[in-house]
């Protein structure tokens, strides 16, 4: 499956990624390879195989309940497209029916 240029543009826009021409071309090729690999896995007969959620045999990775410094408010809001009243301003959530 080949990822077309328009799909790369669309995904980049959704992910808010500002990619150069060169990067767009490379992403198109890499995404195509990844999907091709997924297609190969899809084609396998996996009936009776336990789903593998994790590839490493590790369990119970837990952390102590300790407070670590948070970002400063200015830092946390720095990447927001719009800020109002110290909050992230987002477009209306629900369209009128």
């Amino acid at each position: 499956m080949v990822i077309e240029r328009s799909v790369v543009d669309h995904v980049a826009r959704l992910a808010r990624l500002d990619l150069s021409e060169e990067e767009r071309a490379r992403m198109g090729a890499e995404l195509s390879q990844i999907l091709a690999h997924a297609d190969r896995i899809q084609a396998l007969d996996l009936d009776g195989v336990e789903p593998t959620s994790h590839a490493v045999p590790v369990v119970n990775a837990l952390r102590q309940d300790e407070v670590k410094p948070s970002l400063e408010q200015e830092e946390s809001l720095a990447g927001a497209p719009a800020v109002e009243a110290e909050r992230f301003r987002v477009p209306r959530i629900i369209e009128e029916p």
Binding site: S53, V58, V59, R63, Q73, S76, L77, F88, R89, V90
Partner: protein
């Protein structure tokens, strides 16, 4: 009317866990504060960051599961619940899906027949969302122009407790939430403040004609912000559904919003279509496998739970089920009572009466909880002991209690400062009685002549002379002995 219908209720309860830091990152957990000041790259969902689960939150969840008699999973996973709503910066919530940490438990609640067991389907760990504020229109989401997001709460450890549809009325739901709240408080896993959102209740309710096997159309009710609201919202919904069945009008499966002011529920419309959350295992969190050793350790440290405590209060203190219900509705109230009762040599029932009849009144007026009260429990015992000894009268004790409540001073100090000490010493009283008799010889003669009527006048004279501090019982006894025997 109610006999013709059967109501079925199941509850979903979200509880914010009392941890210092968030579920998957080190940001502090707190209520209110400057917006977006307790966030970091992990809870803001920046690419390349990795969540790590908070051990304390897992431990709290295990405590809840064990206290509810659940089976603890030997192996469980975290899943991503994907949804499109801006209150989670990641666009998914980390939750547990088909392998929750705790399964199949029960909570026994008081009922008319003594006790009823409500099944617990599951208890799982997830993370709380941020808080949205809708701007423009009438302030509700559908009419708003845009929204503002504060992510301080996003990532707060949250537990979801789901019950079986074993609850049969709004009243029973109220009892269940009260009991669960007391249990969670006793476990020390949450501050269980419904007004601050650390305990949130959603309900699924349906009504069917008595004897029908199929459940009626299920309606989900949200936005019940107090235990009382749970009862009110479900009573309203029960009635609305019964009327619809009576009239033969169709009921739709929907989510309804409870309005505190009107006491009514209304359709939320916005979320009617079932979401496909595209759950999949969270690749960034490895499976959780609590060891048998860890689980056993937690089991050992479980405190006395409300159902056990209720039984003990009846057998140990001889209290009535109603008194016990009031005292054990909160663990801190129960502990306060026990501290007072242990410091008191008389009948614990008297301590209960002072707490329920007098102290609760003062707390209500001040709008505070017993745990925030300035009276130390042994001081109430000291006060009641002074009444028993006749040092002060019951009426005076109420005044002293109010002063103890205000200042936190010990009762003995207040009684002394106010000059309230009752004089019960016979010698001291007798001197004043002799004086009163000498000053009113004709009244005394009438009494001696067999007419006890004017005795009250003489008691009044003695009380006046002693500034009301004489023990009236002793005054009466001495007067009787002197004039009528």
């Amino acid at each position: 009317m109610s006999g013709r219908y059967e109501t079925t209720v199941g509850l979903e309860i979200h509880v914010e866990l009392a941890t210092r830091s968030k579920m998957f990152c080190g940001c502090r957990v707190a209520f209110a504060g400057a917006p977006n000041s307790r966030v970091c790259p992990v809870c803001l969902g920046f690419p390349g960051t990795l969540p790590v689960a908070n051990e304390k939150a897992v431990e709290h969840t295990l405590r809840i599961g064990l206290a509810l008699g659940c089976d603890i999973a030997e192996h469980c996973l975290f899943h991503r619940k994907n949804y499109f709503y801006p209150d989670m910066p990641k666009n998914y919530q980390i939750s547990q899906y088909d392998s929750p940490l705790c399964l199949r438990g029960h909570l026994d609640i008081p009922s008319k027949t003594g006790s009823k067991s409500i099944g617990i389907t599951r208890v799982h760990i997830e993370e709380d969302t941020g808080k949205s504020q809708h701007v423009g229109g009438d302030g509700r989401i559908a009419s708003s122009e845009y929204s503002l997001e504060d992510f301080n709460r996003a990532g707060t450890p949250l537990v979801e407790i789901v019950t079986e549809p074993d609850i049969e009325s709004g009243e029973e739901a109220t009892t269940f939430v009260t009991e669960l709240r007391a249990l969670l408080e006793a476990l020390g896993v949450s501050d269980v403040r419904m007004d601050e959102g650390s305990l949130r209740v959603d309900a699924n309710i349906s009504v069917r004609r008595a004897g029908e096997i199929e459940h009626g159309t299920k309606v989900e009710v949200k936005n019940m912000n107090s235990i009382r609201s749970v009862g009110r919202a479900l009573a309203f919904e029960e009635e609305r559904q019964r009327r619809a069945l009576d009239e033969g009008s169709p009921l739709v499966q929907e989510t309804r919003h409870f309005d505190e002011k009107s006491g009514a529920t209304s359709s939320m419309r916005s979320k009617e279509h079932a979401f496909d959350y595209r759950y999949f295992p969270e690749p960034d969190l490895v499976p959780l496998e609590p060891s048998a050793h860890w689980v056993a350790d937690i089991q050992k440290t479980l405190p006395e739970l409300p159902p056990e405590r209720r039984q003990r209060f009846v057998s140990e203190y001889g209290l009535t089920p109603i008194d016990v219900g009031v005292l054990t509705a909160s663990s801190s109230t129960a502990a306060w009572f026990e501290d007072a009762a242990r410091a008191y040599a008389g009948d614990p029932k008297k301590i209960v009466n002072w707490i329920i009849a007098d102290l609760f009144g003062l707390l209500n007026v001040a709008g505070i909880e017993l745990s925030a009260c300035r009276i130390a429990p042994p001081q109430l015992a000291a006060l009641v002991t002074m009444v028993d000894a006749g040092t002060i009268s019951g009426t005076q004790a109420k005044v002293v209690l109010a002063e103890m409540f205000r200042s936190g001073s010990p009762p003995r100090e207040i009684v002394r400062a106010k000059g309230m000490e009752q004089v019960s010493d016979k010698g001291a009283i007798e001197a004043f009685i002799d004086e009163a008799i000498a000053e009113n010889p004709d009244v005394a003669d009438k009494v001696r002549g067999g007419n006890p009527g004017p005795l009250g006048f003489l008691v009044g004279q003695v009380m006046r002379k002693m500034n009301g501090q004489a023990n009236p019982k002793v005054v009466n006894e001495i007067l009787h002995a002197k004039l009528l025997s």
